[in-house]
Symmetry: C2
Subunit: 334 residues, 2 copies
């Protein structure tokens, strides 16, 4: 453990503690000579500032949380989170902010998480995958904690900054692909109904069907997991055997659905055309590769980081929202 203190550094450099501190923190009012002496002392002593002491007085911890109110199984199974974490980490670490990953399954570990956020461990938070019941937007707004959401929160959206994509438009557009290719009985496997992305995508699917004058009643709720998609698809095939098109609210679920369809002895896209959502890599690997919608996760994550930084810098305090456009990706599943 580094046991050298700032005092030691100052003494060795022949300056006061105040000057040493200024020199170390990119001091503005320090002579070149003093600055050099301090740097030298730091080097020989292997000095590292004590973060606790520092943050006690600066009231900053130089670390931010990435909050994921989701079961860990799902966090690691869904490439969405990996991508987001990666991009956020990269964006924030360029500013010397440490990202602390906070995974807490709703309900069980939620208190623990809120206590952590409240406890002053972190300067701000990036929240991903917020659900209706977690009320995270309200919580962070109440705390006055700088925060940015990836994906619009269900409630309290006007109180926080967020980056989102137009899930409604994306879903409508990709459903239109099914309609255009001649499908007349189009079902959907939705995302969780308590997430804005889930709800928006069903709404888009419904809008497309309504506009085409098709029935929009073949709906089963999924959970954004591969197994969940498979199970949902089985149910759907049972209750609506005449389905000839399927809009699945995520590629991961679509991969599961493809398995179920295959097992039912039906062919994609000839018997049933399938489209997914996200385009995160799995989409190109399924058989057949999925026609899907590119979810601009990179853009959203980067923007969320930027939104958070703006608040951390005190540049702005009013909530801002940024929405990115989705993009259709055609492959062979529809």
């Amino acid at each position: 453990m580094s046991s050298a203190t700032l005092d030691d550094v100052a003494r060795l450099a022949g300056v006061s503690r105040a000057t040493a501190s200024r020199a170390i923190n990119g001091g503005s009012r320090v002579s070149a000579k003093a600055s050099e002496a301090v740097a030298e002392a730091v080097r020989t002593l292997g000095y590292t500032p004590n973060p606790a002491a520092r943050s006690l007085v600066t009231r900053r911890t130089d670390s931010v949380a990435m909050v994921i109110p989701e079961a860990d199984e799902r966090v690691f199974a869904d490439p969405f989170f990996a991508r987001t974490l990666r991009i956020v980490t990269r964006a924030l670490s360029s500013r010397d902010l440490q990202v602390v990953l906070l995974i807490a399954r709703p309900g069980e570990e939620e208190d623990r998480m809120l206590r952590y956020l409240r406890g002053g461990h972190i300067d701000g938070a990036i929240v991903v995958s917020s659900h209706r019941s977690d009320l995270l937007a309200d919580h962070v707004a109440d705390l006055g904690l700088p925060a940015a959401f990836v994906g619009r929160p269900w409630t309290g959206a006007h109180r926080v900054s967020y980056a989102d994509t137009d899930n409604f438009a994306g879903a409508r557009e990709v459903t239109q692909v099914l309609i255009d290719r001649g499908c007349r009985r189009i079902g959907t496997i939705t995302g969780p109904a308590d997430m804005s992305a889930g709800a928006d995508r069903v709404a888009g699917w419904r809008a497309a069907l309504d506009a085409a004058g098709l029935a929009a009643d073949a709906v089963v709720e999924g959970d954004f997991t591969e197994d969940g998609g498979e199970a949902a698809c089985e149910i759907l095939l049972g209750s609506h055997p005449d389905i000839d098109g399927l809009m699945v609210a995520s590629d991961l679920m679509a991969a599961g659905a493809l398995r179920a369809i295959d097992r039912a002895g039906r062919r994609v896209p000839d018997d049933i055309a399938v489209v997914g959502y996200d385009d995160l890599g799995i989409a190109e690997r399924t058989t057949p590769p999925l026609t899907t919608v590119k979810n601009p996760i990179g853009d959203m994550a980067e923007e969320a980081a930027r939104l958070l930084l703006a608040q951390l810098d005190g540049t702005t305090t009013i909530p801002r929202r940024v929405v990115f456009a989705p993009e259709l990706v055609r492959r062979t599943s529809a």
Copy 2:
């Protein structure tokens, strides 16, 4: 932000700051009356102790790092890490220790990570997936940082505590399955050569072949990723077209290998019998399901947590090692 301080609590409860502090920290020498008054004050004020101030004096941060010197792509793609993180988190959070995930690709972000470990941000570390060149065991030993490794570190193994499994025995045993079923030309796709798990598994494969008097020269190095396994398998099929058995050092790579074999028009297990390693869930989902070795990750992770706690408690300071036995799992790929 909670701005109430211990002083406020003490004043409201009508006691001194010292008594309030004792009461809050499960005080031993506090009257029931004082204790109750403090609890009440904490409640009405919504008081949360300032962690920086606390750790400045206790010299503890109540958080530990889980260090993964690996590219984030791989961390999230490999279920091994999810499992480990989950179990470690669970084991440590029961002791109110916060786990901070530290993912740093070797080389690039290594300095940053070491600075973090050295900086006094954490009380200890669990290190997963250490590579030969990262010298993490030596680094933490030099720092005197309490630490436990999941998997034996390549160098400095005698200086730190670790939990491991007998990869040599596991690999030998699963290779024997191939030999017993009559394979005579058995290749292997190894893990990274700079990780003990990788090296031990090739050694086990080689030992089995040597004992059976078979040639052990069909070797290609993989990287524990699915794509890597696929590429490695292609190379192997090209250079050794007569292969009738394949021992792949991880199920994830084996899944890739199965794809390559399928594309080459050969059948598993009839043309080529394949065995994997890890048994983390993917193994049951491949076609055909993989015969593999169960890697006791849960045991290792739990033990590592225990080893770390022992050091944190000061119970012991001498490095300890614990090795768990692997277990053969037979399915249909061999």
